[in-house]
Symmetry: C2
């Protein structure tokens, strides 16, 4: 890691660069090897950052993965507004589909989901990640209720979860490809169930 001239860098600049490099390396290692073989010393080497810095800042693999999930939530794209519930949910479905179909991102998500099944700290961080992403998209359902496209009392979070669920189920339980047609079908099914009142509380 190159040391910048302190006078030319805004406060936090180096810290932010170190974090970005370490999180990038952690994501690469997770995508390549999965959670079981994750090792802080190896990640420090990949990131070209001192081992001591990584141990002092993150301490454990679990808290590094938790920080990676915070960063993934921060870096995720904001929701799209298309003016219709179907348009918005298709945009959401295609964003999830593109992410999971991307070789690096798909493996990274699988690795983090796998890690969460056997580590409570990672599970908490993963649950927060999805809560943030679902809250980001929920307003499109509230707008659809206001426009009269969805029944009063529809749970916006349930609708957004319904769009993602078939994509994750396909990723984890089958070898079927995650293509755009699958994404569009997930959005269409969620809209149909919403209109029929299946997500009213």
């Amino acid at each position: 890691m190159e040391e910048a001239n302190p006078g030319t860098v805004r406060p936090g600049g180096r810290t932010a660069r170190v974090r970005a490099a370490v999180l990038r390396a952690a994501g690469d290692a997770l995508a390549e090897q999965g959670f079981a073989h994750l090792d802080l010393a190896d990640i420090a080497r990949r990131a070209d950052v001192g081992k001591t810095t990584v141990y002092r800042r993150w301490g454990t693999v679990t808290s590094l993965v938790a920080d990676l999930l915070v960063d993934m939530a921060e870096q995720s794209l904001p929701r799209t507004e298309t003016g219709s519930l179907l348009g918005d949910l298709k945009a959401n479905a295609r964003l999830v589909q593109r992410t999971l179909a991307d070789p690096r991102q798909g493996k990274l998500f699988k690795a983090v989901i796998a890690a969460a099944t056997c580590d409570a700290g990672t599970a908490d961080a993963l649950h927060r990640f999805y809560a943030i992403r679902i809250a980001e998209w929920a307003p499109c359902v509230r707008q659809a209720i206001d426009r009269g496209e969805a029944p009063e009392g529809t749970d916006p979070h349930d609708v957004i979860r319904a769009v993602s669920a078939p994509l994750y189920y396909r990723l984890l339980t089958s070898a079927d490809p995650l293509d755009e047609a699958t994404a569009d079908r997930a959005a269409e099914a969620a809209v149909a169930a919403t209109r029929a009142g299946a997500y009213r509380r």
Copy 2:
């Protein structure tokens, strides 16, 4: 493992008992420790079966887990016929929900899904397990098409997958409880989307 008197046992009796004991022990170990720490010698000890027998018959942890998934598919309950699509899909949803909400079974499924993310052989076995379970329930959708409850051209497998997807998504991405209300909502949403033609090919 008690040796039975050869004259009193039908052919395959001892082999079947050894398999049952080893698969039970493998399931217990998976539920308790996850896939990463699975060890054939430990499983042989838990099953009270000779280590050599386990190594000779299964060879690797991966092929033992694959055999466990074959057994889980064979042991799974046959589908329920209630006379209506909603009734059948609720029965399916509640079966999946009860399985995933059961402490041992829920942990076992999480462990196998996690293992499948980092092991191709386990992934193949897991995909076969779901293909078998989905094929078992698909006829209830075909019957619904015949009764006029679902549009012609509806893909029966898509409908059955749509029932399971929100339950697995909830299990893996949140700490929300998997209760009967969640199961019923999954079935209701799948029926609404089916009626609207969302699963027509």
